[in-house]
Amino acid sequence: MSRHPVEAFRALFEPRGVVVAGVSSHPGKFGFVSLHNILASGYEGTLYGTAREAGEVLGVPILDSIDALPDGEIDLVFVCTPAGANPGLLRACAAKGIRAAFIASAGYGEAGEEGQRMQAGLVELADELGMLVAGPNGQGVVSPPARLCAQIVAPYPPAGRIGIASQSGNFISSFMNYAVQTGVGVSRAVSAGNAAQVSIPDYLDFYADDAATGVALAYVEGVPDGRAFFDRTRAVAARKPLVLVKGGATAGGQRAAASHTGSLASDDRVFDGMCRQAGITRAATIEEAYEAAATFATQPLPKGPRTVVLTTAGGWGVVTADAIARSSLELTALPDDLRAALDEKLPPRWSRNNPVDLAGAETRDTIPEVMELIVGHPDVDAVIYLGLGIQSNQAALMRGGPFYPDHGLERIVDFHERQDARYATTAAELSERFDKPVLTATELAITHPDNAGPAAVRASGRLCYPSANRAVTALDHLWRRARHLAVR
């Protein structure tokens, strides 16, 4: 469906070689920063730069002309040169066998009538050359599986399964900052810039068939051709989860979008209905979108809405029950045989219902054993586990206090941290074994990210949710998608 062959996207995301056009020796200029970032991410392909004068920057050979490049070794040109120089540059690149360009340069559609004329010319030339031209006026392209960080900003995220495309470059950075923080990484990320020749649906279409990508994540403001957007995103969502945030959902946001990307606004309720029809997971905020994508990337889809909350403290369970009641999930009544099985493991003061509140009754093996009984029960579709990291938080206070390591503190600190790590590992292991989502939530994930509990969740490759409410929201998105697929 895309107008670009898959090889052109491969050239963009997995180039054998890259040339940065318009390299500068000034560390404040895009022509330096992009070269720096490519090197800092450990890119292993062939790398060249071009500038007015030949030489060397950061140890990279700088040529005074594209014509001096070796033939057939470079797939991608990262363009920092002024808009007026780019037509000649792209022709020369095409002659060297370069299939894809990312244009960071500004001065196009965002820059008045003259810029719009330049942009139209750019698209015409790109089509004539058969070249995929991303941007212009974008931040760059990131592809951790290829150790590529060709962008004029930070960060370089860990590798993972989330493929990102955004109409606003800064949200690429926001999503990737979350990836750095949480450890749930990125397969591809591209800032569409003015999206002159390559649109958001084009990227998403590539992600839908890209083996490195498990879930697509996009930010859009405007949808120039609504029908085409609907048809194409529906085709994407039929193949992979597609999480979308739309800027300009309110009258105030629409005015801001009109001045940012010149986007026209539909009634937001029409956009919302379109998303439901297409099977798009629509998120209200950037963090909600990232967490939904991270959940799709790391948890199996639930087979039903029946959710059990496992908590070591009552208040958390109550608040989580409220959140579930407001979602499409179901706070399922505990099956009799499960209640009986839990009675065997727990002293009488436990809640004896869902949420399963252990009420401080746990001993060494209680949590892993109880969790296995719950996750393994056939009438339970998903589990949210609360209370991870409490022991390690106390351990941290002991470790930093004046009595450590005496009075048996070293031993108990080790024990607490081992236990929390074990709980996190158990949650991931049970989720895989029973093919059900098991989400772990604690504010320690952000207040004390080094705590052994959240750290072990990160090490398991999963997201440790900063609150139970956010875990419920993410799980709700998974169930909505599962249900959408089930009835179609």
Binding site: V223, P224, D225, G226, R227, F230, L264, S266, D267, R269, V270, F271, D272, G273, M274, R276, Q277, V487, R488
Partner: protein, 214 residues
């Protein structure tokens, strides 16, 4: 954009499967009285015509007429209320529909996404409540069912004040009929079924207004 008369609007949508209660289109007050006996009292009588789009605002709808004399009198008044620019007019006589719940459904054109099917909660508070959902034409049965699930006021769709739950299948059929009409007739730029009165659980379209591009 020209609007079709209520009778023509209903006829057009009915060919695509939107169900309407039986009603008679008659020219005179005497014929209206006879029609009222045929469709069953009490009835509603309205003045119709191609130029008449806002009947309620002009007082051209007479509700709950219980006997033939009341029908005849109301019909005569309505015919007298016609204005020269209304063009050719007629009377519509239909059985009075009663229900505590009102919904609205329709077709609307969106600048970006084209024709959409709409379902919402109706009645005098509809605009303030703004409980409404859209899908792009064409919709499937699944889409129609999900539209009904989308309404925030789900309690309104269950058992309500002694009336049974809304027949979701019948409501979905209305939405599918609208979608089919839009697909089959690209000249339709808007349609409104307002209100859809829920009568013993069944959604009944008592008014229809179709706008066409000419």
């Amino acid at each position: 954009m020209p609007t079709l008369s209520e009778a023509d609007s209903k006829a057009l949508l009915a060919t695509h499967g939107v169900a309407f209660p039986p009603e008679r289109k008659v020219p005179t007050a005497d014929a209206a009285a006879a029609a009222a006996e045929q469709v069953g009292l009490p009835v509603v009588v309205k003045l119709g015509g191609d130029g008449i789009a806002h009947k309620t605002e002009r007082g051209l709808v007479r509700l709950n007429l219980a006997d033939v004399e009341a029908v005849r009198a109301a019909a005569a008044e309505l015919l007298a209320a016609a204005r020269p620019d209304d063009g050719e007019v007629h009377l519509l006589v239909a059985p009075m529909q009663r229900g505590n719940r009102e919904l609205i459904a329709g077709l609307h054109h969106d600048e970006q996404f084209g024709m959409t099917v709409m379902l919402g909660v109706g009645g005098v508070l509809a605009e303030a409540v703004a409980d409404v959902t859209f899908r792009l034409v064409p919709i499937t049965e699944t889409d129609a069912a999900e539209m009904i699930d989308d309404l925030a006021t789900q309690r309104l769709l269950g058992d309500f004040r002694g009336e049974p739950a809304v027949d979701r299948g019948a409501l979905a059929a209305v939405l599918l009929g609208l979608s089919r009409a839009s697909e089959a007739d690209p000249s339709i730029v808007a349609a409104d079924l307002n209100p859809l009165i829920v009568v013993d659980g069944a959604p009944v379209a008592v008014d229809a207004l179709v706008e066409v591009a000419r």
